[in-house]
Symmetry: C2
Subunit: 451 residues, 2 copies
């Protein structure tokens, strides 16, 4: 079995913890069975490893998430990134093409598409195994998971089975509906409809026939280079609603979309994370503090509090669904990023009265990791090393550096850095404009260095 895990875009519903760089599925807020922090995507991978040990996993995502995935999941998964943002059909088509054209997976093999942020019990994966067996038996072109509704929610799309469909293990689907209003949601429940949980199973050949209608390419590389030819359309519209036959497999185990603060806080292992002091008069409140300063909270009830380098949220649980409208206008840059080589934090970002603009970062490279060989055309950088040892290259000249040293990198000078041990430095950028995009990357061969 091949699983395509959809790792979606950045959202602000969990602001300030999620931001343009860090999507909610990478937040390490959950807890695994031995009490270690884990993210949503790590949890799903752990569950797949237990329930579906023979499944191969391909993550369909964007280039901006590659570093997070590598840091959190290592190399146990394949990663297929979209060359540009389109919609779920093109993203799934690309990963399916990767399986067919790059990995040589047979058209007869079952493929499962699933989101990476559903919070479920292990039974969920047993249902997925059942779905693939129905695909193998050919009961329908497309087999999807139907979540037994807990309430007439207006937040989900619904799947309506045939009235006459009587098989218990699966039902033939009559139709899909968009998110309904409350009255229609109640009617849907009377008709035995399910929530659409976004889990689909099909033969690889079935989806590749659709792919080939848009792009007929000889290689995966060619197909990827023509990615813009795919229409911007969701998988639900392009595939599910047009399928000749669709079956739904009911799932009535635990299932949650942890995409909002309210659903997330219910699953958090503790009510306070980080440097937090809760007073004696705190009720039904969750406080997460990622900052390095203390947070004191008392005399509050039913609140969600989250502080990160990007901002601070203080919100009654009843209002948490509405924060997006207040957060969307905030257009500050991400103040914290996780990269394949380590992490950085923005310590200070100031436009001075004399017209200069400076940005100060704390940057940590993990042992053995290096940044790209690069130059900037509009900014100088001063690096002061405050932890560890490494090798610095400026304009082709390598040298060892260690804690206590300072180096100035003028505008236009080529530079790269590799950590021998964990290597931390304070970077002061000065320039105009001062943007991440002011970077030109070049090749550098670390193997050529002999210090």
């Amino acid at each position: 079995m091949h699983i395509i895990l959809l790792s979606g875009g950045s959202g602000k519903r969990l602001w300030p913890l999620s931001n343009g760089a860090r999507s909610k599925q990478f937040l390490k807020l959950l807890q695994n069975t031995v009490g270690e922090k884990e993210s949503m995507v790590q949890r799903v991978l752990r569950q797949i490893g237990i329930a579906l040990p023979s499944a191969s996993v391909t993550i369909a995502t964007s280039e901006s998430q590659r570093d997070f995935i590598e840091n959190q999941l290592g190399t146990a998964v394949d990663v297929v990134t979209e060359p540009e943002r389109r919609d779920t059909f093109p993203a799934i088509a690309l990963s399916a093409s990767y399986l067919a054209m790059e990995k040589g997976v047979s058209p007869e093999e079952p493929v499962v598409v699933m989101p990476c942020d559903s919070y479920t019990g292990i039974e969920y994966f047993e249902t997925i195994a059942a779905m693939t067996s129905f695909v193998e038996r050919g009961v329908a072109d497309l087999v999807l998971m139907g979540i037994t509704p807990a309430s007439p929610s207006t937040k989900f799309g619904y799947v309506v089975p045939e009235a006459s469909s009587s098989c218990e293990a699966y039902r033939i689907v009559n139709r899909f509906t968009e998110k309904p209003d409350e009255e229609n949601a109640k009617k849907l429940l009377e008709q035995g409809a399910f929530w659409n949980g976004g889990v689909f199973a099909f033969r690889l050949g079935y989806i590749m026939d659709i792919v080939n209608r848009y792009i007929s390419a000889g290689t995966f590389a060619e197909l990827r280079s023509r990615y813009a030819e795919f229409p911007k359309i969701s998988f639900d519209y392009e595939v599910a609603e047009k399928a000749g036959s669709v079956a739904v497999v009911p799932y009535n185990g635990s299932w949650k979309d942890l995409g909002t603060w309210n659903t997330l806080v219910e699953e958090l292992p503790v009510s306070a994370m980080g440097k937090v002091t809760l007073g004696s008069n705190v009720k039904e409140t969750t406080v997460i503090n990622e900052l390095n300063i203390p947070l004191v909270c008392d005399g509050v009830d039913n609140l969600i509090v989250a502080a990160s380098h990007d901002g601070i949220l203080i919100c009654g649980k009843d209002s948490a669904e509405q924060i997006k409208r207040y957060v969307d206008p905030l257009d500050s840059r991400p103040m914290f990023e996780e990269r394949r080589w380590g992490i950085y934090r923005v310590l200070d970002d100031t436009y001075h009265a004399d017209g200069s603009h400076s940005l100060t970062k704390s940057i940590t490279l993990n042992p053995g990791k290096s940044i790209s060989y690069q130059r900037h055309n509009h900014r100088s950088e001063v690096w002061t090393f405050v932890e560890g040892e490494g090798v610095l290259v400026i304009n082709g000249e390598p040298r060892n550096v260690k804690v206590g040293e300072t180096v100035a990198i003028p505008v236009g000078h080529l530079h790269t850095l590799k950590a021998t041990t964990t290597l931390t430095f304070i970077e002061v950028q000065l320039g105009n404009p001062l943007v991440e995009e002011d970077i030109e990357r070049f090749e550098w061969n670390w193997n050529s260095i002999d210090l």
Copy 2:
């Protein structure tokens, strides 16, 4: 008339805005008549200037507050600092001695002692003028202000007048009482008692007679050097309760002690200060954000929220009196300080895994200001200038510096810096231990420089 304004110590009741370095009276949270931000001490000085224009003001305080006072009040006031922390009697005795011995004020002149953090109407100062006239008329050794109680509060000391005392403008005092319990507070109100607002008037000679009982010195400098000989006792115990005759002048105008969050927020001009977004469902809530990241607040009622570089407070108004017990155990260093030469902020303070300790600050010197000529025995510093121009001296060698330059100052090297224009630099400290106290100061004559 001579006013001794008591500028008391640091407190944590207004944490995180007040800290070990920044006492509550220096927080610029209030607003003057033209809409500019002003602090409690600036407000009192402005009111004195209007109501008592001929009064001279001496501020009795500690050395740690001198920079704040100079920044906020300029040189319009005299500042007398205690060589060490004792209590209110020694502090007032020292300032009185300064008036008598250093400024040559006559023993017959009236002196008024008052706190700098009472939030009052201008009538308060008219009452002070009346008090000094009663001192001049000799109605009592000591004349104090009696605040007409608004309620049987248990938070104040009380002043009980003689039952037979019938003069309307002043009453003869029968006795003082400590903060009573509620039952006794009600009885005190029935007896016509006043709150003791801490405002005292007396002839300078009266207090100097008491001073001379403890320390008989020929000069103010000698007296100050023998400051430790004063007993650690409050003015109330040492002077007010022992006085042969005490009169109280009633004051029934507006009067508030802004020493707690609850009393302070009632007087703030707006409910949101700083980078704050309030949602549509925010009631009876005050949010102050001194950080440079956005704070979003919605769905809350009756809260006090304050965020500074020292920490974040989120507190129901009913619990605000109790925060001290949660804040006291927090022993982090002040992350923001105002000095006579400018300001600094701590951007990062990290103990690294390899044992090194680094501290990164943003430091701004105001034009024409300089730091002391100094050296550190346990830390190196790297300065990267990000705004303005100045003159740097290292080991006696002066040179011009400006935005874009970086200088490394090794352990033990003497250095000083003077701002030509507003001068900002990022400082990376590295050492062990990394404490403010690792500083030796030397003389430097800026006039000798000719660049």
